[in-house]
Subunit: 253 residues, 2 copies
DNA sequence: CGGTACCTTGAGGTTACTCAAATCCAGTGG
DNA sequence: CCACTGGATTTGAGTAACCTCAAGGTACCG
């Protein structure tokens, strides 16, 4: 155990955000050089997180703010009845734990969908930087309101669109986000299982599965388990946009 | 036009937040006395807004941040197809327009549901105060993350619960919020029409109407148009809580 | 007193859920 | 390398909830 290199030491060679391959996607990109230096002093880089490990639990006092470095993370809330409500999937470069800013406690849970790595800022340091740096505040306010916009978008998706449109939107969203991270937008692996997708979209597992199968029959996509290949991007895009006509499920005008 | 007193002059006697009857519910309550004084210098009090008047339009450059002083306001987004998506109802004391902080533009629309009054802070002043006051930043970050939590709650309601539970939750929420504002929690007037309620809850007008009628048949509430009387609070509460059993509409565990 | 917009109610259709069973797949041990 | 196993996924059949379309009722405003 002690003679082989700890997994946590891998990739620790980087000593600054400026060397990070995710830099352009990271919030650190948006703060001043001085602030970034301050972050660099307290940041713990490339912390390994194993699949199914929690970054934090709901109700827990916030210890860190994390940025996904590699892998992927699922965020979920627990309803009063103890049901899981999947609220987001995080990809490399995305920041997790911001919503603890107000209460110093995490309102929800975050769990790794696969073996992943995160950069972590101790929550105390983060908060004290917030107190002195209006610029960092701006960035966080922006990120929070962006997350808000996304959640509102999800509200539209989950509450008002038919299953086909929801699934199409989900696939397009994953495809686009992965593309920004230099992955093939037309062939990728979903790191979450059907249950998570269904829960995220407000559908049942069976409906998600049937919808994917139908899209495959129509030769819009190809699905083999978690592997997805986009065969007809424009049709998929159309499905995702068609939030009107058959898609909408109640009066809006 | 010029010889009769302008409606905008009514109620302008107050010169400080400290005299405001809504003070305890207003964000101004949470900032320091100095900051409140600064707010007082730029605040336009009791601005009248007529029913159906917009406080702002989506895409518009933010001119003010508003606090509802009296009346009620509906917030909505426009989907790509031009459909209205009702995202919130604001009651006295609640702040509107925070989500413009990041982009300096309002992502959505805000319209008065009845003749109302608002206190308005010029957006520029607000932003510049944010730049210098970490405390105000904290408060705004808190309000934003609270709004986030609410939107997530709505996500749960809209996407996953059956019609009856959604309507019950809506009624309970209105009742509770009105109670905090010293109104009778068991007898109140809904200021929005059925269309708005349906849209907010992700249902059709007909379903909302039928659900209300059913609740009336069961003697849980009494409805006459916009007037609602709660006859059996505990049963209504039960309906709202019963987010499991029949209510849930997809796999969560 | 008529008009218009809002609300309610009814009948029928469709979507997505439920329950159930078959199939696939990754990981394990032989 | 292959059979085995438990979990994940797919598929099928039937049903319930909610939507759509349509008509009738009610309230408010000039």
């Amino acid at each position: 155990m002690s003679d082989k290199p700890k997994i946590s030491e891998i990739g620790q060679k980087e000593t600054s955000c400026d060397d990070c391959s995710m830099f352009s996607l990271c919030f650190a990109h948006d703060v001043s050089a001085e602030e970034r230096e301050e972050i660099n002093r307290v940041l713990k880089r490339q912390q390994p997180v194993e699949r199914s490990d929690h970054l934090f639990h709901g109700g827990q006092t916030a210890k860190t703010v994390s940025v996904v470095r590699s892998g992927s993370v699922k965020a979920y809330q627990l309803s009063q009845e103890g049901d899981e409500i999947v609220s987001a999937f995080y990809l490399p470069g995305e920041i997790i734990g911001l919503d603890a800013i107000s209460g110093e406690r995490h309102p929800g849970f975050a769990v790794a969908l696969e073996d992943s790595r995160t950069c972590e800022i101790p929550f105390k340091d983060f908060v004290s930087m917030l107190k002195t740096s209006p610029k960092l505040n701006q960035v966080m306010l922006r990120l929070l309101s962006e997350e808000m916009a996304e959640t509102r978008e999800l509200l539209l998706v989950v509450g008002r669109l038919d299953a086909r449109t929801r699934v199409a939107l989900f696939l397009m969203s994953m495809s686009r986000r992965l593309a920004r991270r230099n992955q093939d937008p037309d062939q990728f692996r979903l790191t979450m299982d059907r249950r998570d997708i269904a829960n995220y979209l407000g559908l049942t597992i069976e409906t998600v599965s049937r919808t994917l199968s139908a899209m495959q029959r129509e030769e819009v996509i190809e699905v083999r388990g978690k592997l997805v290949r986009v065969l007809n991007r424009s049709v998929l895009e159309e499905m995702a946009m068609k939030a009107d006509e058959v898609g909408r499920r109640q009066a809006t005008g």
